[in-house]
Symmetry: C2
């Protein structure tokens, strides 16, 4: 059997990409997070061929990211809503938006995130919720978690080694 993409190493980034590693899928989630629910809404927004849209929505449903509900029998019409894991995609999208605005918008920002109450534009950054520190800080490193495979353990330090490392080495 031919393998068409990367083998599953257990890496959470790769696991995520199995579901959204496709431009159309990403954009369908973008529109769903902005409130779109109906097939024709997605189709109009994205200017996408119906068979492609239909395939991507089916895959999103199978992945548990969207739920389909029939809202009309005559004619048959479905609407699609995000599940909890689908809504959980929002930070990825916001990070992507911020990256695009910073680096690929020579003419200025086209879409921004705004605080509805104050009207102020948000500056999206990733932080550690516990310490409040920005995750761009080099103090943060990737480490092998409790469920890491052998392969991942060879690649990343164990998450338990850092404080010990500090105590013995400094």
């Amino acid at each position: 059997m031919k393998r068409s993409g990367p083998a599953d190493t257990g890496c959470p980034v790769l696991r995520s990409l199995k579901h959204v590693g496709d431009t159309w899928t990403f954009l369908i989630l973008r529109d769903a997070l902005a409130g779109a629910t109906r097939f024709d809404e997605f189709q109009k927004n994205l200017d996408i061929a119906p068979n492609i849209l239909s395939g991507r929505l089916k895959a999103l449903e199978e992945a548990g990211l969207m739920e389909r509900r029939r809202y009309s029998e005559h004619p048959p019409r479905d609407e699609y809503s995000l599940t909890e894991s689908g809504r959980g995609f929002k930070p990825v999208l916001q990070a992507m938006l911020a990256w695009g605005n910073r680096h690929f918008a020579p003419e200025g920002e086209s879409v921004v995130i705004v605080d509805r109450e104050t009207g102020k534009q948000a500056d999206p950054v990733m932080v550690d919720r516990i310490s409040g520190r920005q995750l761009s800080d080099p103090v943060f490193a990737q480490a092998a978690g409790p469920a890491a495979s052998e392969r991942l353990r060879r690649r990343y330090p164990s998450m338990n080694q850092f404080p010990e490392h500090r105590e013995t080495d400094r």
Copy 2:
């Protein structure tokens, strides 16, 4: 000319996806952000065919996300380092990692982000740097920015309308 993907509407998410809307590219950036620089490192980590890797690295170089530097003439060997915009991809990757850990890791977390100084696992969230509020809060909405096209202005409210809206309507 056949259009193979979505038309450029100026949306920053779409602009970003033009550069990283591919699983291999995403994983190359993941590994580069974890410190990989050499062709054979990427190849070994990813278990990727050399011609595919070579094509993806070339595209990343052309997109300005990576820079190539020859470090050996005999034999000819290049190393690849992230540019500023390439390093700017980090939050997207961290958001993807967090999403994968939360929703697609039934056996537990395989890769985590750790604060090297305290050894504590980070809980990655997107916040507005200015107010510190989490961007998952429904108070945050997408809005058309200063450089929005007609099409984006029809889709998103203007970023200036929120405070006025509140003053006149409440």
